[in-house]
Amino acid sequence: MTAIDDRAAAAPHRGQSLRRKEDPRLITGRASYTDDLNITGQLHAAIVRSPEAHAKIVSIDTSAALERDDVVAVYTGEDMADLLGPLPMAWVPPGVDVQNPPHWPLARGTVKHVGDPVAIVLSEDRGAAIDGAEDVFVEYEPLPVCMDIETALEDGAALTHPEIGTNKCHEWSLGGGDIEAGFAAADVIVERRVVNHRVSGAPIEPRGVLADYRAGALTLHTSTQVPHFVRLFAALILGINEEKIRVIAPEVGGGFGAKLQVTGEEMLCSWASRKSGRPVKWIETRSEHMAVCHHGRDQVATVRLGATKDGRLTAIHSKILADMGAYLMLLTPAVPSLGAFVMSGVYDIPAVQTDITTVFTNKCATDAIRGAGRPEATHMIEVCMDQLADELGMDRLELRRKNFIPKDDFPHETALGIVYDSGNYEGALDLLMEKLDLPALEAEKAELAAKGIRRGIGYSTYTEICGLAPSRITGPEGFGLQTGLWESAIVRVTVTGNVVVYTGTSPHGQGHETTMAQIVADKLGVDPAQVEIMHGDTGTGAMGLGTYGSRTTAVGTEAVARAADKVVEKARSIVSHLLEAAPEDIEVHDGKFSVKGSPDKGLALAEVSGVAHVQPEKMPQGMEPGLEETSFYDPENFVFPFGAHACIVDVEEDTGKVKVVRYVAIDDCGPAINPMVIDGQVHGGIAQAIGQALYEHVMYDDTGQLVTGTFVDYALPTAAELPSFETDRTETPSPVNSLGVKGIGEAGTIAATPAVVNAVIDALKPLGVTYMNMPLGPEAVWTAIQEAGQ
């Protein structure tokens, strides 16, 4: 672990809470989002969407819309026969049969969920396009709907896709160790039905597209996390050569996975631009977003967790039913399996088995939303750990500590064959307990109870798998993703000695323009303000796979660091040549490439770059001019951040209302690049998880109508509902990459729901409540109290 010592001695910017370089433009309204962009001659699109959850399209009458002066064109699915294929689904696990009904940008013959697109109306004016859409008359013949995954596989259930003959999409299992022997060795087994209900990513900027096809080339502005994917699939679906397509993600106002997608609207507007010969702009409304942008979670699991009577875990088995919705989108069926990789959490469990069955329903598709499968899995094991502790009559934390993978046992291969890179779970929990002041919290309990308020404390000790990559494991012959998941970066030193970095990732608010600049600045001996990070444009700079799966630091920034290292190497050669010193004696010190031991003898990066660009003849013989390097990076393993969270709730006994009064989070994502940026990610993640645990729920009624179509009905928590989070870190480096870093974008969301639920159950234990599922809205909690009292 000598590498760590090197890092500890690293230059000054890393580890500091530098203010975010991107914030001035974001908070002064100077950033350009897709809706801020306009191209001369553009048309506005409105999409006619199905009000039915499942129906045959009998006829579409576009004549009234076309008669309007302000409508330029109306297209339906029939007009789009020239598409080369349906929308993509990128997961083909070897040897597993996945049903994948065709999913078109505009429905062909039937609609499968409320909001399914049926026609597109183009107009010079956005309002007129919407008016025109109201004048498209579609006759539907309603068909029976399938809305409940727990009955969807029964005989006689209405079929989402009758031509498949079943609502089952696929089955997939992942196991390791002897599961039967594991449960046979258990003295106590708890079995719980664990629900991870449907949520929306709900970025504040909904999606938006501005497509401009002209002279055989397509420029597609889209609010996306994955511009390179979009380009690839636009090429394949629209039949345009990849090099003729430029996809630009302008400022993107949040993604949370909702924009990790290749969407029908992107293909539709691009197609419509080619067809109409005009740029086409579509901006999603909030109501559209809630109805048709993919949702997340929606799993019902039966979890069995076994232990000996002294509290040694022997086996965990999760049987997961997952709701796919009506279609498979980019990663829809793969999401539950991402959770399976960490089903055993932070514990040393000899036998682990996860059996996944995925099911079609007449709802919007699910896909990756912040955490994607890992929040669900973490919820399963962490809620069941509390249940098991109760069953054993053992302290919840003692049970956890007893089964933690010990810190000297890393890298640790789990029963599944997954190798956890590094960890110190005890250390994180110790720090959490230090911050928590448990005695004070306990002391207030009695006083509160006298006022009808029940206080509860809940814990979650977690790890997660992120930094998606490594292609060797995730790729076609491994997990089955039909792409590699490497990253690339270009580091270019300008003539004047400033630095432009191109990354293939596509940050959208996380702060990577700052953190990447910190890393590069330290390596090259410049100020982070001199380092510009360019991203989100397939037409300029580096290839890559985008920003999701907490991969941009562990994979993308590592690629940047490696490219910067190559620049340093070249600069050292140049300097050693100029100063007539050995290259290995040149170090970056105080903003200079100087000779070891004589710090005043040296050249600043600007001087080196001056030579490389202006007087290349002074460079070593045969060396290419310029100071620019590229690196492609595909890690050997995932990274596994971890931590320990505690949630304190007060529950009103007479109404069931839950208030989160404190939330303390210890997270470990390796040595910090920028602690403030980490805090920001953790805060947002926890807020999103508290949202799921207590407030947010995408609900449909029995007929397939969406009940939560606006922010009045879909209850995103606001600052008023949340306490000020208390965060801290431990820093355990990852051996996987040279920076020692792990992802942190999803950790809060992955860790926090069980902490909240365990806290509520803890609060209500004196009233006889022993178990509850999310979401814990006031009526659900009140009802549980009533039922326990009977």
Binding site: D131, T655, A720
Partner: protein
Amino acid sequence: MIPAAFDYTVPGSLDEAIDALRDGGEDAKLLAGGHSLVPLMKLRLAAPTLLVDLRRVPGLHGIERQNGSWRIGAMTRHAELQDRHDDLGVVAHAAAGIADQQVRNRGTIGGSLAHGDSASDLPTILLTLEGTVTAMGPDGAREIAAADLFQDYLTTSLDPLEIITEVRMPAMDGWGHGYQKFTRRAEDWAMVGVAAVVRKNDDGTVAEARIGLTNMGSTPLRATAAEEALVGQPLTAEAIAAAAGHAADGTNPPADRNASEDYKRHLACVLTGRALREAAGLA
């Protein structure tokens, strides 16, 4: 998110406003703060052909004490009411709990009462205080008592050509008051809300109690059984608890995604207890 096309006019007087409404036909609508009407238009659940904006009509503003009541101009924003707990009492209290500050900066008392949403707070307050609104129409002004104003879901007894010009809220000097609004999030409409005002006799027993319910029916309601149970009783925690148990008597609240009918009835009782304790100074 984009409303259907409409015409827009900003009359300079009440007469002009009434004329504009008449000339605009049945789909002409008044616009006050726009925070109920415009969201409906953006979702295309309402499509008025003409909006008659009241913002330049003189005489619709101001809060004045006149004898035993407060005269509040119809265009008074919730934000102007929210900090006046000392004189406006429960009116200020309820206004302060409406949505968030942006909504309170725009929404008006006249708009709220004319919209007649039983989930909104000020209709309940008007009913509880037994206030009135003054409506001006082509045939002159008339005063409408709260109990006559609210007819059904989003339906009032206002004629389409009538404009609320002012609201009268009795000053309730010497009364104790409380308003309890139960929401999931701070900014939400009430799942259930309860207003309570109480006047005591010299011996400490209750002379008069009025209890109003938000979102417990198609209009704001009075919890008459609970009111009656309190009269003549000392204002103790026990008497309050006994009366609060009757708060939902006779109600048929609409169930929604957040609350079943039974739960709403339960909440009405719990909140009535809290509002009464607040009014009694026991909270």
